[in-house]
């Protein structure tokens, strides 16, 4: 079943067209890695789909409906570097933000909400850091807090922008474990990913992107030397030969 259908999507940054003719569907329960060189429009694709960046053309349909009707079913994990971690708040508070949509505007979080946020931190192995000021967390811990915030939303479709960048090995495996659990629970996840070495291990589907989709499909069929080289240009050395 298709949970996301994107048709003829294009977008630009300033004068440069960064995405064109992007056309794909995502099935429920898939775990898709979006892979491509720098400037391929990976993050932009997520932002355009979520209306965080204007599109030039095209349509995006979530669960057969438009974005405003399905916002509560969608979770977004921005790049860690997109916020200022010096902001005076603690880890639990950041996770609580994931519940703001459900709590309702201008209402205060209840004890139950706090318990939910705490449980989500615990799932990410961060319970001990609930009251820690966010600037005092390591990069990996900050990423876990962001993941916990997304989990507490209890969405059906998740978009994650480079969640594995700059995190240690323990965090990386904790995050991947979480993503697999989401998938097992019938959730759908799209992840912007940069590490070609782990694509086959982590994702059942892969989208090779370079301003437009070079290839999209099951990882075992799609992630081939030819396709990856077509995405990155001939300069890339195919790691399996090394």
């Amino acid at each position: 079943m298709s949970v996301l259908a994107v048709r003829d999507l294009s977008a630009s940054y300033h004068k440069n067209k960064v995405l064109y003719d992007v056309d794909f569907e995502i099935n429920q329960g898939s775990l898709t890695g979006i892979v491509g060189p720098n400037g391929a429009g990976k993050s932009t694709l997520l932002k355009v789909m979520l209306d965080l960046h204007p599109k030039l053309s095209g349509s995006v349909v979530f669960f057969g409906k438009n974005l405003s009707q399905t916002k509560t079913r969608i979770g977004y994990v921005p790049q860690r570097g997109s916020v200022d971690w010096d902001f005076p708040t603690n880890a639990l508070d950041v996770v609580l933000m994931g519940l703001y949509g459900k709590i309702g505007w201008f209402k205060w979080p209840s004890k139950k909400d706090k318990a939910l946020a705490m449980a989500s931190l615990e799932k990410m192995g961060m319970a001990d850091y609930a009251n820690r000021q966010i600037s005092q967390l390591s990069g990996g811990q900050q990423q876990r807090v962001f993941l916990a915030r997304a989990l507490v939303q209890d969405a059906d479709l998740y978009f994650m922008d480079e969640p594995l960048v700059g995190v240690d090995a323990a965090t990386e495996s904790a995050i991947m474990e979480t993503l697999k659990q989401l998938k097992e629970n019938g959730k759908t996840v799209m992840v912007v990913h940069h590490d070609l070495l782990t694509v086959e291990e982590y994702f059942d589907h892969v989208m090779l992107l370079n301003k437009t989709i070079v290839k999209h499909g099951r990882t075992d069929e799609t992630f081939t030397k030819e396709n990856v080289q077509a995405t990155y240009g001939g300069a890339l050395r195919w790691m399996k030969e090394a």
């Binding site: 405003s68 005076p88 603690n90 505007w105 209402k107």
Partner: protein
Amino acid sequence: MLDMFFSPNAQWVLFSALTLGVAAGMVGCLAYWKRQSLMSDALSHAALPGVIVAFMIIGTKHLPLMILGAAVSALIGAWLIQWIQSNSRVKEDTAMGIILSVFFGFGIMMLTVVSRSAGGNQSGLDSFIFGQAASMVRTDVYTMLAVAIIIIFTIVIGFKEWKLFLFDVNFAKGLGMSSRLMSTIYLLMLVLVIVIGIQAVGVILMAALLIIPAVSAYYWTHSFKAMLVLSALFGGVSGVAGTVISTMGNGWPTGPFIVLSASVLFLASFLVGARKGMLVKAIQFKIQQRQHALEGGRQS
């Protein structure tokens, strides 16, 4: 000198300085995390021509209308800063520099023209430059109080929303919050607190009341709520202290003394602030050093 505390008018003036300081401290906190501290300076300078033009049109000092004039010209300034940025290669700081000086220069020019041509009823207009809390009359105080209370109320009821908006605007949009609406409300509050403050603090120094309490508060806490409360407190104390000091001398302007009071609080925060004051940092370092020496340089 103590007489002033017993005259009802002086009490009103003090109370409004307090409320203004609280509102400015809170809005300043938002501006700090929106990285727009300097924007408040540009906007307060940009308010001056509006005050003078409003006076020229109505011909008398009528605060609500002059506040309206100030708000209009500050908003034009804000819009121009945006416009310059998006339609040229000029960066935000440069755009602010241009608008700040052009609007202020134009305001001073108009003020000179008014002082030369009009009769005696323009006296006190120059108090908008350095601020003269004592020149406020009862109705001025009411106007100020009403606006300040609306601002404080808006921040308090939307506390959770402001926090999310300032920390992670993209995530907020993902949850369905309109960032355009939040930005508009924020800008309106910034302009309003500036325009109600300029009679008491003056256009030149109004920005200090927005910037200094917020940054001082940041030295004391890890929590946004506490930062907001402390910033409000520092703003309120500075407003009252500055007003009291300025009444000690005949014709002393209020603005500089309010800023001076705020600066004293900042200096204290900078030195002994619990979170990252200089003194606290130094003591922590000394403790670490001593421990290190005791352990003979081994890892603890």
